[in-house]
Subunit: 239 residues, 4 copies
DNA sequence: AATGAATGAGATTTCATTCAT
DNA sequence: GATGAATGAAATCTCATTCAT
């Protein structure tokens, strides 16, 4: 009772795009079940919407609409809005974490590793700018959602980078006076800032602030600074 | 319709506590100062509340309560919630902007200027961590709040720093391969990240992530990196 | 931001009826402030709506509409739906509790006291059937809202009645074999059931079940049963 | 058309636990019995869940989970949530109705009949307290669910009891001044209240209200009161 | 200037119900 | 018969904002 049983007969079909054609028995390459498709569809839509409007600036129904599903389904799969963001983080950081871990564990110099990570980050940004935008913009910036830091994948990235600097310290590759832990933070922060500034300055309304810096320029500057510092010239002594 | 409007006679004043009552208005010309007191009181409360709960995580009434005033007064002075945040930005960035401008205009080396700015930032953080937290945490991180960047005081800081690097470029103080604009972004980003990481790692629940790095260590590492880069040792060639 | 600041300018004039004329300083008979009026208005509406549709079957907005206020005001005053029900209980049980307490503390016989309570209950029902309906129908019947029993006013009624039976036990007014605590429960239950059955059988759709019993008949039967039991006649022995 | 239809491969059966498996279907013709098992399983689960959380406080899926079936099956068998509650009522009241009917039709005294019914009720409660709890707690307490009263089995019980009192009136077994119809209501109400109070006071958080009364004490008091009334002693005259 | 009652847009979330498989 | 993905009506509650006093 209470809920009008039959009053909700057929309610506007709503499902235009249909990415998974043959329902169930076709000899298709299995793997991605319909269920997973929907989940991914929603996750992908969440990335897009979060990137465009921000986590706080969008509604669950925006995500659902973008994904072409009913909003109820988002709850079905992700429990609530926070759960959705958490999943976006999980999924995408996991990818990055794996790659960074691999780099950190290779038998190359610290210099190489850092260059590779910078390269990786910029590549990722070029391939999936929206993902990076969300990862970076919504990350840890919210007093409430600070729990993002508890995310295992995120922690894994931090640990891998710290490992690299720690090792550099031992092998003498790291300059004197550079604290590995502090350097990890600054390194990640520099990367993050590069993306944030790029995202923000290429936002349309944003470009007034300053000549938007190209990504490439940013990358080169970052690497150069890591290697030789920013200050050069004849009087680059003392402090 | 359904317009209530029952009488609203006298509604029991409700604001008993008034923490900043007599304290300092005594020997001052009251009147204008009383007004400013309230304004400042609210602004100060806003900083505290924004820092603790985040802009999105708090209510206007939280700020009002913290300030010991009725929430209607916040609207009286600041128009709306956005206006309040804007004022927090204005007021506090203005202070920083002035200082940075002065540094940038002085007749010293780029190296000196940067060191002074780093010093200034860390001092500011030590003196008013909450203010810096808000300035940094709520800044530009919200796709919607991006307008913060339009803030003149903020722009002034960016411009001053860019000016320093531009000048460094001319005098040859800036290393080859370092783009002044990119470097401005990275510099500010590094500073920002230093504070963010500090705030986040000293948050109680946060310290598990990694050994929290001390502010001093962060400052030293940042300066060292600016001067000589992070990578040193025997094999610090090529790239 | 997020909330369209100016988009909600003037929304339908607002103050038509104005029951309390002189704002605040008039030498009127004070007492019911405008604020209290609204509170009471809402409470009264809640009783009506709860009685008609049941707590679960109505929406906060139904209550608000009945009261002629915006639903936000209900939250302003009562926090949430549960809080509203709790207040309905508080307020109304309090009235009954006072009366029952007075009866229990008087220096009359148990018989008199019980008769008075029965009388009181039936009078209350006749005067404010809706209130009694809510008090009785929503009371303790909900596994979730069981907390109603924690209500001090409710507890007070139970205690007063138990006190009466306990005293009757001592003075010998209570039959042998009658446990005072059990009797309290049965007494209250009988009263409650009388009202419930009345409410339910006079519900329109309900009257088919049985010839609806009149309230008066119910009252007389209840008192008679308390006095002499239900079973009489010549063979009323043994068990 | 436009039905989402993503593939939903095989979705992990989900029904591991099956408490009523082999027990009694062995020497019976399986097939139909398997069907009935499921039905009963669901009904039993419904009783448990309704008793624990209340009809309004539970979800169909809670019942399904408790029964170890998919929630779709509940709809298959019972149509909807209301249908499920109706079935719970039907099934269980039917049992009671039969027994009460038999008692009412026997050739004994009213006194005997009532005693037997009280006995029956308390026995039922002891054997299946959850069932009684649901029957009593969800019964007629909800303005919307009032339809429960239309239930034939429920009506049958009421009629049987009324028949007993009507007959008692004729044979003179019923005291003067006791209206049969009113007495039926009070009798059923007293029984009901006895159980409700027991359930409520033995609820854990509830026991603070008053010393929880034992079932046995309640039963004895009820019978005693039916026989002799509650008021006795020397001054039990007049009214 | 100051207060807080009053408003209501809007967002989140729940969950009964349908139905393809 | 069984399953559970998918849907969306509907309800609760939040809180920025207005405005009479």
């Amino acid at each position: 009772m209470a809920r009008p049983a039959a009053s909700r007969a057929r309610s506007t079909p709503a499902t235009p795009r249909r990415e998974t054609a043959a329902p169930r028995l076709a000899p298709k390459e299995a793997g991605a079940s319909g269920r997973d498709d929907r989940r991914k569809q929603i996750l992908k839509a969440a990335v897009k919407v979060f990137a465009e409007k921000g986590y706080h600036g969008c509604r669950i129904s925006d995500v659902a609409e973008e994904a072409g599903v009913a909003y109820g389904l988002v709850y079905h799969y992700y429990g609530n809005k926070d759960g959705l963001l958490a999943s976006v983080f999980d999924t995408n950081w996991a990818f990055f974490a794996k790659a960074v871990d691999d780099i950190a564990d290779a038998h190359t110099s610290m210099r190489d590793k850092l260059s590779q990570i910078v390269e990786l980050a910029f590549q990722a940004f070029e391939m999936a700018p929206l993902v990076v935008k969300v990862l970076v913009l919504e990350f840890g910036r919210n007093a409430r959602l600070g729990e993002a830091l508890d995310n295992p994948a995120v922690a894994r990235v931090f640990k891998a980078i710290t490992r690299i600097f720690d090792e550099g310290k031992k092998t003498g590759e790291l300059h004197e006076g550079i604290d590995p832990a502090a350097m990890s933070v600054l390194f990640i922060g520099a990367l993050e800032t590069a993306f944030v500034s790029f995202v923000l300055t290429h936002n349309g309304a944003r470009s007034k602030l300053q000549a938007a810096v190209s990504l490439d320029s940013m990358k080169k500057t970052l690497i150069a600074m890591l290697h030789r510092g920013a200050l050069g010239g004849g009087h680059a002594h003392g402090l």
